[in-house]
């Protein structure tokens, strides 16, 4: 293989570089020139700059035809990775915009720059095909997220959540690293594509299998699938709302994509099958069991929650269960469905957490009962919230519905007419019916119940509703015209040969 | 003129309906307004019926004044009307009794409009039933006449009207639905609702086979299946007449209903059942009747005897007359079943059968008028003295009210079948046929005949003869209005007794036709 030109390396890394530059700029502006300015202006400037950085990087990547593979897959830029990078940048941008008004900490510059750093990590995750780089990206992201979780250092819950997150995360990182090293020890390669060929040639080795299991454990943590989900409710509950939104959405997109990539590119030979009539050992049955438990546990645990954040956390676990279908299915179309699903899911989650933040800032807690009568006092926010929740629940004509439909349809492998995942899809459908129960419980408070006479009216900051409307209409449009997005996914998938 | 005569029956049906709507909708202050108008409308219908009777040619085979349009394609349903010698008798009876009942009614305190328009609706339903030749709308009218009857009892009846009306309705509906289901089975097997076509199947004896080809229930044999289908239809008409085990709705209903309504119930509505037997059971199911003939004749005898003895036990005059109605209609059932029993095509048998059938129709008509007349008399008694319709509530009225006594006597003697009055001819013809066709059954019903005489005479004796107690001193005789109301009926009773040929001329050709068409 030819050594790549430096110019190529530069091109390939350009989005990350732009973000890194933005990090520096933000810190410079905020700490250097604006340290004495009023908070509002600091937030606006820092947030605005970060957003512009994301925007610039987005326009660079979106629909770019670049195709570069650095040595050993250190960076593998193709239309798929560019698409994922664009998605992550858009979602990050939205989170940043929302954070401008919802950030409560005085450490404005730090907050935005850490978000951007985490994003860099995520970008590396989705655009690398090298075990080393993947681990690197993972650590960069994770460390940033620990800080983000602990950002509200005056609140004990925030610190507690961060500590738990950190402990679980650290452990899982260690496990992941161990797994990666075991795989490396069998194959002697870090490039996932090479790993695939060597594993095929060598056949299943016990050490390789052990490595695979450890890798699954590591990634399972990232995507909060049962039984590696324990951190999620705590973190979602304790972290400051903007951080929680970021963790629940953007980081999940990257988490799923990297899991999919690692398993489907590197360990494709060890896939096995989770089809009910021919279960073969491999990672697919393991993931299938994880998925089944995630759906069941996530949905049923969510029913019992009285806090909105924990409810969203458990529902996120359930959604992880659904999304795992996209990886387990042998049908390549399912990956496309997975991208669609995780994107629209993330958008709805960002929106939902923004509303959670509004709720907490007005009512002081995130109990479901605090939502009571929200529709009367703040109809726009409520309608948007309705859209987010309905999208999560999978009601047409919202994106969440088409996502589910697309994912489940593809998981049944229409092209071959084989119904291997019959059982898992069936379970997903059943449990998603359960999920209606608690989603409706939330919306009942908003729309059905009338506000108590003594509750204060609900004041929203001026800018947030616009962004909420933006997200909501995005979800609505993507639901009505999913083709706008799937049209981008299909060719990218083909080009990558997923 | 041809155009009108082609629509004559539809118009005849529509007139009372139109009248009902008009009476209901128009609502001026005058209380008697609705009575007058409804009487007017029903008399128009009577006039129409007479016109049709005038235009009717007795000897002609088949139906006259026919109207036939395709109504529904699936199931195939024709709107098919027509009259023959039998239905025209029933049509005349309807046209006679309803105006009589309206003329008799006092405007009720609550909702007089509704009361009279319900009576008109009833007339519409009855007219429709007697002219329909397709099961579909025959059934429509059959049921449609039930609703006004139900409400007349329900809203203006006596003290126990709620329970009574409910029982009445439910009994009748049970019968109707059984009949409906059976007819649907017929439709499914034979593909038609037309009475003519169904009768043709019946005549050729294809019914059993067709049913067993298309319908299968729990491995029943063909015969049993066809009997099952027959029983459904039978139940429908038997409840309406009613035959004895299905009769228990009747005495209470007749008692609780306001007397003018009772007159309609007994005068015309019970005839729907008989008509149903002649129009449906006889031509379509001759084979099935033969299979069950012992049971059916037994039921008829039971009805006759039971009705008579039960009437004997009653002290309430209305109840007594109610049971006597059961008894009288039992003769009709006897005649009908008897006319199917013997298999044979000799002239002798045909004559006997035709005689029985003639008797049945005649009996229907004359029971219609005599029973109405008797109830009318009870109505007079009721209106004279509170709720005094107990047997023995009056006595010795002969001296106080000679006209009343005379008319009442005519009606009572007509009812017990005195020769020279209308009922005699009917009963005579029925028994003439029955004695040769089904001698056992005829013999067994004789006690019924005798007991009828006993209770009617006893009623007459107690009420009119003997000393007149003081409280009856003020009993007023019939006034001119009442006499005017009663006279047509009385005249008919006598005229028919003397010249039964007026009706037999209409009935006989058709009766012979039906008999001839019965399977050999």
């Amino acid at each position: 293989m030819l050594e790549p030109l430096y110019q190529d390396i530069f091109k390939a890394f350009l989005p990350e570089l732009i973000l890194a530059g933005t990090v520096l700029f933000v810190l410079l502006f905020d700490l250097g020139w604006l340290s004495d300015a009023p908070m509002a202006r600091r937030r606006t400037v820092a947030g605005g700059l970060s957003f512009l950085g994301c925007l610039a990087a987005f326009f660079l990547c979106f629909r770019s035809q670049l195709e570069i593979r650095l040595s050993q897959g250190m960076l593998n830029v193709d239309s798929l990775s560019l698409l994922l990078v664009s998605v992550i940048l858009v979602l990050t941008g939205i989170s940043i915009l929302l954070a401008i008004e919802s950030l409560e900490s005085p450490h404005v510059g730090e907050f935005f720059s850490i978000i951007l750093l985490a994003t860099i990590g995520l970008l590396i995750l989705v655009s690398s095909e090298n075990m080393l780089m993947i681990f690197l990206g993972m650590e960069l992201t994770s460390l940033s997220l620990y800080i983000l979780t602990a950002f509200d250092k005056r609140r004990v819950q925030s610190i507690e959540a961060a500590l738990k997150y950190f402990l679980f995360g650290g452990l899982s990182a260690a496990v992941l690293l161990f797994g990666l090293s075991l795989i490396y020890s069998t194959t002697g390669e870090t490039d996932l594509k090479e790993v695939y060929w060597i594993l095929i040639a060598k056949g299943p080795l016990p050490i390789g299998v052990l490595g695979m299991i450890m890798v699954i454990a590591g990634f399972g943590f990232k995507i909060a699938a049962v039984p590696f989900h324990l951190w999620a409710p705590e973190t979602y509950e304790g972290a400051p709302a903007p951080s929680a939104a970021f963790i629940a959405s953007v980081s999940k997109v990257a988490g799923f994509m990297v899991t999919a990539k690692f398993l489907l590119v590197g360990l494709f030979g060890m896939m096995g099958s989770a089809a009910w009539y021919l279960i073969r050992p491999g990672w697919a049955p393991i993931l299938a069991v994880m998925a089944a438990f995630s759906m069941v546990l996530g949905n049923f645990a969510a029913i019992r929650q009285v806090g909105l954040r924990r409810l969203l956390a458990y529902s996120a676990i359930a959604h992880s269960g659904y999304m795992l279908l996209g990886i387990i299915s042998q049908n390549s179309g399912a990956r496309g469905a997975l991208i669609y699903y995780v994107t629209t899911y993330a958008a709805a989650m960002i929106g939902a957490f923004a509303v959670v933040h509004l709720l907490e800032s007005q009512r002081g807690n995130d109990r479901l009962s605090s939502l009571r009568g929200l529709f009367q006092s703040s109809p726009v926010t409520s309608l948007c919230f309705g859209v987010f929740i309905f999208s999560l629940a999978g009601i047409p004509p919202l994106a969440g519905f088409f996502g589910k439909f697309y994912l489940f349809a593809e998981a049944l492998e229409p092209a071959s007419g084989v119904f291997g995942l019959f059982w898992l899809v069936g379970l997903a459908v059943i449990t998603s019916v359960v999920s209606f129960y608690y989603y409706l419980k939330v919306l009942k408070q908003v729309f059905v119940m009338e506000a108590m006479p003594d509750t204060r009216s609900f004041a929203t900051p001026p800018f947030t509703p616009f962004i909420l409307v933006l997200i909501a209409s995005g979800i609505l449009l993507l639901g009505c015209f999913p083709h706008w997005f799937t049209r981008l996914i299909e060719p990218a998938m083909k080009a990558h040969g997923f | 003129m041809t155009d009108i005569s082609q629509l004559a029956l539809s118009i005849l049906t529509a007139v009372p309906l139109f009248g009902a709507v008009m009476v209901m909708v128009l609502n001026p202050g005058c209380r008697h307004y609705s009575k007058r108008w409804s009487l007017g409308f029903s008399l128009v219908a009577t006039f129409g019926a007479l016109l049709i009777c005038y235009g009717f040619e007795p000897g002609k085979e088949g139906f006259q004044f026919e109207e036939e349009y395709l109504w529904l394609k699936n199931p195939v349903v024709y709107y098919h009307l027509g009259v023959d010698g039998i239905s025209i008798v029933f049509l005349l009876l309807t046209a006679l009794i309803i105006p009589f009942s309206i003329a008799l009614s006092k405007s009720p305190d609550s909702n007089p409009n509704l009361y009279f328009s319900l009576l008109l609706l009833l007339q519409c339903g009855l007219t429709g039933t007697f002219t329909a030749l397709n099961f579909f709308h025959w059934f429509l009218f059959w049921e449609a006449s039930l609703i006004p009857a139900f409400f007349l009892v329900r809203l203006w009846g006596g003290r126990q009207r709620a329970a009574t009306a409910g029982t009445f309705f439910v009994f009748t509906m049970v019968g109707s639905i059984a009949m409906l289901v059976s007819f649907l089975a017929l439709y499914f097997a034979l593909g038609t609702f037309e009475f003519n076509e169904l009768a043709e199947f019946g005549r050729q004896g294809l019914l059993t086979e067709a049913i067993s080809q298309h319908v299968e229930i729990a491995g029943l044999s063909a015969n049993k299946l066809s009997v099952l289908v027959f029983s459904g239809v039978f139940l429908g008409v038997a409840v309406k007449i009613p035959l004895v085990p299905f009769h228990s709705w009747l005495p209470d209903t007749y008692t609780q209903a306001p007397t003018p309504v009772t007159i309609v119930l007994t005068g015309v509505m019970s005839k729907m059942g008989v008509y149903g037997m002649i129009r449906l059971l006889l031509p379509i199911f001759p084979g099935q009747i033969r299979i069950l003939q012992d049971v059916l004749l037994g039921l008829a005898v039971l009805t006759i005897v039971y009705g008579a003895f039960a009437a004997l036990q009653q002290t309430d005059l209305k109840k007594m007359l109610a049971y006597s109605s059961i008894n009288h209609l039992g003769y009709c059932a006897l005649g009908i079943f008897a006319s199917v029993t013997v298999v044979g095509t000799e002239v002798h048998w045909i004559t006997e059968k035709a005689s029985a059938l003639n008797g049945v129709v005649l009996q229907c008509f004359s029971h219609g008028i005599t029973a109405s007349a008797l109830f009318f008399m009870v109505w007079i008694l009721e209106s004279r003295k509170g709720a005094g319709r107990k047997l023995g509530g009056f006595s010795g009225l002969r001296s106080k009210a000679p006209v009343f006594c005379g008319l009442c006597g005519v009606a009572a003697f007509a009812s017990l079948g005195l020769p020279g009055l209308s009922s005699f001819v009917g009963e005579f013809l029925i028994f003439k046929g029955a004695f040769s066709l089904a001698p056992t059954a005829a013999l067994l019903s004789i006690p019924g005949l005798l007991v009828t005489a006993v209770f009617l005479l006893r009623f007459f004796q107690i009420t009119f003869c003997g000393p007149c107690p003081a409280e009856s001193n003020h009993f007023a005789d019939l006034n001119s209005k009442e006499i005017l109301t009663a006279v047509p009926l009385m005249a008919l009773i006598v005229i028919l007794g003397v010249f039964p040929d007026i009706l037999i001329r209409l009935i006989n050709p058709k009766a012979i036709e039906i008999i001839a068409h019965l399977a050999p």
Binding site: E413, P414, I430, F447 | K73, A162, V181, L184
Partner: protein
């Protein structure tokens, strides 16, 4: 043009929500929207009469929607759809008339109401399985809010139960449709194409009950009917009219149009058990209605009874039986709408109670004779007396039943009889009881019947009468549609 029924209704719904207009204007806008929808469907029905026999299947719009999955935006109709579209239009208009005096969050009420109506139009007109599913699910959500916000007796329980049942049904449909799509090669969701595909036997045997029951849950198939009584009771009048009037029809329609045409072999296999279930529904619904103490519960169970006939009629696979089922859908829609209007608006708003025992002490036939007359007529229609729409429908169904399962005809007749009994009992108790003087209760509300109520009641009862006396109005739409390739295969496949 028929597509505009959907669009107009949705536009109306959004306009109501967004425009700052007075309550009065809200009502009239809603009414105008519903009337427009009805008008369009009536015109289309008249036009369709002329072409029904040549071209029973009419395409309205056909556009690629999501080409990757072969999903089309395909609106299409035949006579069956058209009959139900008409029903929906009528119910929409009368439902709004009977909701005229909603006094609480009016805008939202009418907006949700119209969304529901629009979605139902969509279900009846979609010939793409995905599109159908989308409309189906859209129809579910407004139901929840309509009941939970404006309902009465245990409204949140009723609403949640209803939605969860619908969603379970929705999930099964989802699964069934996706499976059919996958099994047929993942090319298209077009109903006609999917119906033509020959699925393997085992697959059909497994998937048919899932898809059928998924739809039939909404149609009130026993034993999945239990949402119906509680939901109906909890719902406000307008919503229960919609529930019984059209939502239950979505279920029956879907079962016929989707489940049965997709999997004829599976149908053959399951036909017996399912028709027994329908039969049990008939008898069970009637028996339950006979012993209820709450006015609306009676009607709720009567819906189960009537929908049993619909399902039984469809399962006969006999031309007449199926057409009877479609007619019964229409007829039951009209009648149950009217019954709920009487129970929920005309009586409940005046008396404040639905306990039969209390109502029986109020001598309602004297105080509100108009209502008594309307209810009586409706009761007679609902017992299937001839002259009303229900009769022709039940007659056709029973003919079909004679052909398919003769012994069931007898049981069904018993069901009809019990139907007579409960209708009579309700009528007697509510309107015609004369209590002893010391038991008399006053009727708290005014005895004046408002104009919208009169209009709505007359509209519905006259529709039932017209259809009862001249059923060809609808049968001429339905019959040709039973001879389209799609339905013909079904009727000839398992029928007589």
């Amino acid at each position: 043009m028929l597509a505009w029924t959907i669009y107009l209704t949705f536009i109306g719904a959004v306009a109501l929500l967004l425009l700052p207009i007075s309550v009065r204007a809200v009502r009239f806008t809603a009414l105008a929207t519903a009337l427009a929808g009805l008008l369009i469907s009536v015109i289309e029905a008249i036009l369709y009469h002329a072409i029904a026999f040549q071209e029973p299947m009419q395409i309205i719009v056909r556009k690629d929607w999501i080409p990757d999955l072969g999903i089309e935006y395909l609106l299409q109709y035949d006579g069956i759809s058209l009959v139900l579209v008409l029903l929906n239009g009528i119910i929409a208009v009368s439902g709004i008339l009977f909701s005229w005096n909603i006094r609480h969050r009016e805008k939202e009420f009418f907006s949700l109401f119209l969304i529901l109506i629009g979605a139902v139009y969509g279900v009846f007109l979609s010939f793409d399985a995905f599109l159908l599913l989308v409309f189906y699910e859209i129809a579910i959500i407004p139901k929840y809010f309509l009941i939970a916000i404006w309902g009465s007796t245990r409204k949140e329980y009723g609403a949640m139960k209803l939605v969860l049942y619908s969603m379970i049904g929705g999930g099964m449909i989802f699964f069934g449709i996706v499976a059919a799509y996958a099994a047929s090669g993942g090319q298209t969701f077009n109903l006609e194409v999917l119906a033509k595909f020959e699925y393997p036997l085992l697959f059909q045997m497994i998937m048919f009950p899932i898809l059928f029951v998924g739809f039939a849950v909404l149609a009130g198939l026993w034993p999945f009917h239990s949402w119906a009584p509680t939901g109906h009771v909890a719902a406000p009048t307008g919503a229960s009219m919609l529930l019984a009037g059209v939502i239950m029809k979505i279920g029956a329609y879907g079962a016929l149009r989707v489940a049965m045409t997709f999997f004829p072999l599976g149908l053959d296999y399951w036909r017996g058990p399912l028709s027994v279930m329908a039969l049990i529904g008939i008898v069970y619904g009637a028996c339950n209605a006979l012993v209820q103490k709450d006015f609306k519960f009676v009607i709720g169970y009567s819906s189960v009874n009537h929908m049993g006939f619909v399902l039984l009629g469809m399962l006969t696979l006999h031309e007449i039986g199926v057409s009877g089922a479609v007619l019964q859908m229409f007829s039951h829609g009209i009648l149950s709408g009217l019954l709920f209007a009487v129970a929920g608006t005309m009586v409940y708003e005046r008396t404040g109670t639905r306990e039969l025992d209390h109502l029986s002490r109020m001598m309602l036939s004297r105080k509100i004779p108009f209502v008594a007359v309307i209810f009586t007529l409706t009761g007679f229609a609902s017992m299937g007396l001839p002259g009303f729409s229900g009769f022709v429908a039940e007659l056709q169904i029973l003919i079909g039943v004679w052909s398919a399962f003769p012994w069931m005809a007898i049981v069904a007749a018993i069901g009809i009889l019990i139907g007579v009994a409960y209708n009579l009992r309700t009528m007697q108790t509510v309107f015609f009881t004369e209590p002893s003087p010391d038991h008399v209760m006053e009727m708290p509300g005014s005895s004046v019947i408002s104009l919208p109520e009169k209009l709505g009641a007359c509209l519905l009862i006259s529709v039932s009468l017209v259809v009862g006396l001249y059923p060809r109005i609808l049968l001429d739409l339905i019959y040709p549609s039973l001879h389209t390739p799609m339905m013909k295969a079904l009727i000839e496949g398992g029928g007589h």
